[in-house]
């Protein structure tokens, strides 16, 4: 397991993992635990979870709102969480669920803005696809995938979650994870190959 995978796994975060899952004698301690835990989750995972949500909803402003709402929701439910060591897993699940629901109800603000901005125009087939436009096209291609495939691919290839972790996050079987992953990558690959060989050389 690499260092990257360790920070995104379900293992307790070092700054709050110890002690906070023990029953607190009173509400004050519970509140202090919840505050500290949410702050630690924010510091360790804010950037990564916002980027995860951008992969799902393709809108940074909305992604920030979604992750912020998810942090507040986990704080709200803190006393009722069965296992505080799993707080990151709950948070991740909340981010995926809220991203899904934001897409479903993407009415008011986005429709308004979409009207103002108009649709994107893809570059011609003979144009080199570089940097920003390549990123945009990858995000656009992701938006074309069925929702489950997009979620599975983002959790697998961006968060590096295992099949079991993805299954738990999405509430589906490991078999389903496998089939969404293989169908999603099969659809994505030809599109990515069409974007040219520079895709993997500037990492």
């Amino acid at each position: 397991m690499t260092a990257y995978a360790a920070t995104t796994g379900i293992a307790p975060h070092p700054t709050w993992g110890v002690g906070v899952n023990e029953a607190s004698p009173d509400a004050t301690d519970a509140r202090a635990d919840a505050d500290a835990a949410i702050e630690a989750l924010y510091l360790a995972h804010w950037n990564q979870l916002v980027r995860l949500s951008v992969l799902l909803v393709h809108d940074q402003g909305m992604a920030e709102e979604i992750v912020q709402d998810a942090l507040v929701a986990v704080h709200q439910k803190w006393d009722r969480l069965a296992d505080h060591h799993k707080a990151l897993a709950y948070l991740r699940q909340a981010v995926v669920n809220r991203s899904r629901s934001a897409l479903r109800h993407r009415g008011v603000v986005t429709r308004y803005l979409a009207r103002q901005q108009g649709p994107d125009v893809a570059p011609g087939a003979d144009q080199p696809v570089l940097g920003d436009s390549r990123r945009r096209m990858v995000l656009d291609a992701l938006q074309q995938l069925p929702r489950r495939q997009r979620e599975v691919l983002a959790l697998r290839y961006y968060l590096d979650l295992s099949e079991a972790e993805i299954a738990e996050t999405l509430g589906i079987s490991r078999g389903a994870v496998k089939s969404h992953a293989s169908r999603g990558s099969a659809t994505l690959r030809p599109i990515l190959e069409g974007l040219g060989p520079d895709l993997r050389t500037d990492q």
């Binding site: 505050d35 809108d59 979604i66 709402d69 009415g107 429709r111 649709p119 983002a154 295992s162």
Partner: protein, 350 residues
């Protein structure tokens, strides 16, 4: 973050891993820790038993914003000259769009008197809560004001110059003495003050009272109305319009042949019906369905229930200016007797 990390079970997909990391590598999330802290602490202070505890934990420095940023938003550019276009030409923009529309509240007529109507406008994007509020409030000033000509604003030019978001209130600095004086002969000052409170809360996404100041001193009168040290959002049923259109926006130019409309309604509106008419003749009509508005949108609309139409086919229509109208029958909560309320938008079909 390293895009080349190998997953133990999945070592053959390094290229996909690289693509996913690269796709969001230019996304720089803005710092929202202060907002997270305020929202989690705000919940606590509403519960008396926790109120005295932990006051210092993660205290948030109040943010003061001066109006030097001015209102250079997206919306300025298209006001009165170019209407927003559906399916129109594209412009160069960054990889990831940022959400920057604000729900603004204006005064409009209904069959039973004046109410507040919400209209969305594009505002300068910012992640700073005080700036969000300031940029939204500045659009209430009469030199900007509503796009829908059926609405009006009571706030004079230069009304809003600074905003400070504190733990328990929003301090709004009024930039002109004209904002202290009556501006409306119909006695709608109360709604005018509520325009600012509704808009500020919608921009912030949080329920906080507004304290009006002028020259750093609390304003005793605002728009000619005596006000207390803090003004709460008046949530009584007679304040907001029972049906309100969000989308389409006023003056929308439709080129792609379909229209989907949505908006909000009060809890006691049972049926929302819509019509599309040209020169007073109804060319299409239907019934809207109830939806729940969630996520960021729900904050911008202050939690009101929503309605939406199915896709309306405009392809057979002659080009021209059409009026889209929604009508809701209110069964008594926002008025003494069941009454019909409506909202309209003018759109251009090409």
């Amino acid at each position: 973050m390293n895009g080349k990390d190998m997953h133990p079970n999945d070592s053959g997909n390094d290229d996909l891993r690289a693509v996913f990391h690269d796709a969001v590598s230019d996304v720089e999330p803005r710092d929202r820790l202060a907002e997270v802290r305020r929202r989690t602490r705000a919940r606590r202070t509403t519960k008396a038993r926790w109120a005295p505890v932990l006051v210092g934990a993660g205290a948030v420095a109040a943010t003061v914003v001066a109006a030097t940023f001015v209102v250079g938003g997206l919306g300025d550019d298209d006001r009165d000259d170019e209407p927003p276009v559906a399916g129109g030409p594209t412009s160069e923009e960054s990889t990831v769009p940022t959400t920057s529309a604000a729900g603004l509240y204006f005064v409009g007529e209904t069959g039973t008197g004046l109410r507040l109507f919400r209209e969305f406008q594009a505002v300068t994007p910012t992640s700073d809560p005080a700036e969000k509020v300031l940029f939204a409030l500045q659009r209430l000033a009469s030199d900007l004001g509503p796009k829908d000509h059926g609405y009006r604003t009571l706030w004079p030019e230069d009304s809003f110059t600074a905003v400070e978001v504190e733990d328990d209130r929003i301090v709004v600095e009024l930039g002109t003495e004209a904002a202290l004086q009556p501006t409306d002969p119909t006695g709608a000052a109360y709604l005018g003050v509520q325009q600012a409170v509704y808009t500020a809360e919608a921009a912030l996404g949080e329920r906080l009272p507004v304290a009006f100041e002028q020259g750093g001193e609390p304003a005793r009168e605002v728009l000619g109305l005596r006000v207390g040290a803090q003004v709460d959002r008046d949530t009584s049923f007679g304040i907001t319009a029972p049906v309100n259109i969000t989308d389409p926006s006023e003056g929308l130019l439709v080129e792609d042949g379909t229209l989907s409309a949505n908006g909000t309604m009060s809890t006691n509106v049972r049926r929302v019906e819509w019509t599309l008419s040209l020169g007073g003749d109804v060319v299409d009509q239907g019934e809207a369905t109830h939806i729940d508005i969630e996520g960021p949108d729900a904050r911008a609309t202050l939690g009101a229930p929503g309605w939406e139409t199915s896709e309306i086919d405009l392809s057979g229509l002659a080009p021209g200016q059409y009026v889209f109208t929604v009508t809701g029958l209110d069964v008594g909560q926002t008025s003494d007797t069941p009454s019909e309320f409506s909202d309209t938008r003018t759109i251009t079909v090409r």
